[in-house]
Amino acid sequence: MEKNIHSNPAAFLREEFTDSELGVSLSVCYNCSTCSTSCPVALETRGKFNPRSIIQLANFGYEERLIKDLSPNTWECSMCEVCQEVCPQHVDLHEVFITIKNAAAELGNIPKSYSSETNQVYLHGKAVPLQPAIAKRRAQLGLPISPEVSISEIQHLMNFTPAKAILDQANAKSSSQEESA
């Protein structure tokens, strides 16, 4: 029931990319690059970020490079999901990228823009918590009060998942950075 972060996220990733349904999906990539030619971020970064290279590295055992060095950086994916739709081999790029990002997050390699959003959900149950100005605006518009959810339920559920340890790591990292600054 409880899942904590993996002691070795790269080894876990290797397992996911070989001994699972996802591994089968990855293995049929024939390197045609249709994904990269349809990727808007590849277009803007002149291919520095491109989905094909991530799929190739995942296929050939470069998990450490993907989640430790972030080279290429999978967090730059905009999640427009076009690559997923155009792939002639139906490689599940969506799930491959999520799996890579989850493993990188477990290593502490998660951008603040991501960890802080998940932290808001942990603290308030909402990615965007209510501010007094918005509460006032809602009343002006005649909208119902924006309800507060049972935070204890949210935290109880998140404590079963790796999110809790990922957030603890990220929060410790940002407070130590504040201290050194």
Binding site: M1, K3, P40, V41, L43, E44, T45, F49, N73, W75, E76, C77, S78, M79, C80, E81, V82, Q84, E85, V86, H94, I98, T99, K101, N102, A105, I110, P111, S113, Y114, S115, E117, T118, V121, G125, K126, A127, V128, P129, L130, Q131, I134, R137, R138, Q140, L141, L143, S146, P147, V149, S150, E153, I154, H156, L157, M158, F160, T161, P162, A163
Partner: protein, 305 residues
């Protein structure tokens, strides 16, 4: 996909409204128009005050798929307690709730794990509450003919650039709606209001909200392509169906000036705002003054008050 006869299902009378964090707590005027339109169409929306973040298919799912799945299941369990389907007004929320439901229904092992967790907080997931994006309800359940009956002021002459956004129709195997790469339901709904939906080269281009978190230059480049193409098509407004796209396409207009000295001033309207106007709402009533890119002046030129 439904193309020929659009109205394929009868209208369920009641939905649980899933407003979503961004609309609820940042741009609540969108919620106002959504409630206005559904009331006019005679569809009852029920509020469940325990709905939490869907959670976000980008931010939270990228952090931990397991947390995303578990929190999503809690929201679905709440709708099941109400015995109602869910209607979502956000591309992200509808993707998450549809995808979580499908994943749990397809994987008994995962479902068992999540179920044990939910029992700890006194809840239970069975998968009985269906999830719809509001565009699906309008296109498939209500249909153009019904929509037309509520129009008191058609949007004649208005040129709209439709931006459906990514998570509405992709990944198709998770959201199962419309055409994944060339979605048409949003366009059909706007056309039913009497507006002209213009074609533009970069309709498929992502708003860049996801990549903006990490690489702002890439996001700006994507927006530049999008806006240039919309300007070429001489659209009066951009229409959206997702709050993340709404914010990105509004805020991005200022970013263009800073990054490229490019002037962009195209008001962004939610499809529910366009509908509310056509159904007779005043601009004040639905809070259009709260937009960052002010739509009021252009709307006045079209005779709206």
């Amino acid at each position: 996909m439904v193309l020929e006869s659009e109205k394929t299902e009868s209208i369920p009378l009641k939905y649980d409204i899933f407003v979503g964090c961004t609309i609820q707590n940042r741009i609540p005027f969108i919620e106002k128009s959504a409630r206005y339109v559904f009331e006019k169409l005679g569809i009852e929306l029920h509020d469940n005050s325990e709905f939490a973040c869907c959670p976000d298919p980008v931010g939270v799912q990228s952090t931990s798929h397991d947390a995303w799945l578990t929190l999503g299941a809690r929201n679905l369990a709440l709708a099941e307690e109400d015995q109602r389907p869910i209607v979502s007004f956000c591309n992200g929320c509808s993707e998450t709730l549809k995808a979580v439901r499908q994943e749990l229904l397809k994987n008994p092992e995962e479902k068992k794990v999540v179920q044990v967790r939910l029992e700890e907080i006194g809840r239970s997931f069975a998968g009985t509450s269906e999830v719809k994006h509001f565009i699906e309800v309008l296109y498939e359940n209500v249909g153009s003919d019904e929509i037309k009956k509520s129009i008191v002021k058609p949007l004649t002459g208005m040129k709209i650039a439709m931006h459906p956004g990514c998570h509405y129709s992709r990944p198709h195997e998770l959201v199962h709606t419309d055409d994944a790469l060339y979605p048409i339901y949003p366009r059909k709904v706007v056309e039913a209001l009497g507006a002209t939906v213009v074609d533009y080269q970069e309709e498929l281009m992502c708003c860049g909200s996801g990549v903006a978190r990490v690489n702002e230059d890439a996001a700006n480049g994507m927006l530049k392509r999008k806006y240039s193409s919309i300007q070429e098509a001489e659209a009066d407004f951009i229409a959206v169906i997702c709050p993340s796209c709404f914010l990105q396409l509004e805020v991005g207009q200022r970013a263009m000036k800073k990054a490229y000295q490019m002037e962009v001033k195209i008001p962004v309207l939610y499809v529910t705002e366009l509908m509310a106007l056509a159904f007779g709402a005043s601009m004040a009533e639905i809070g259009l003054k709260f937009h960052q890119v002010k739509p009021i002046k252009v709307l006045k030129e079209f005779g709206f008050e």
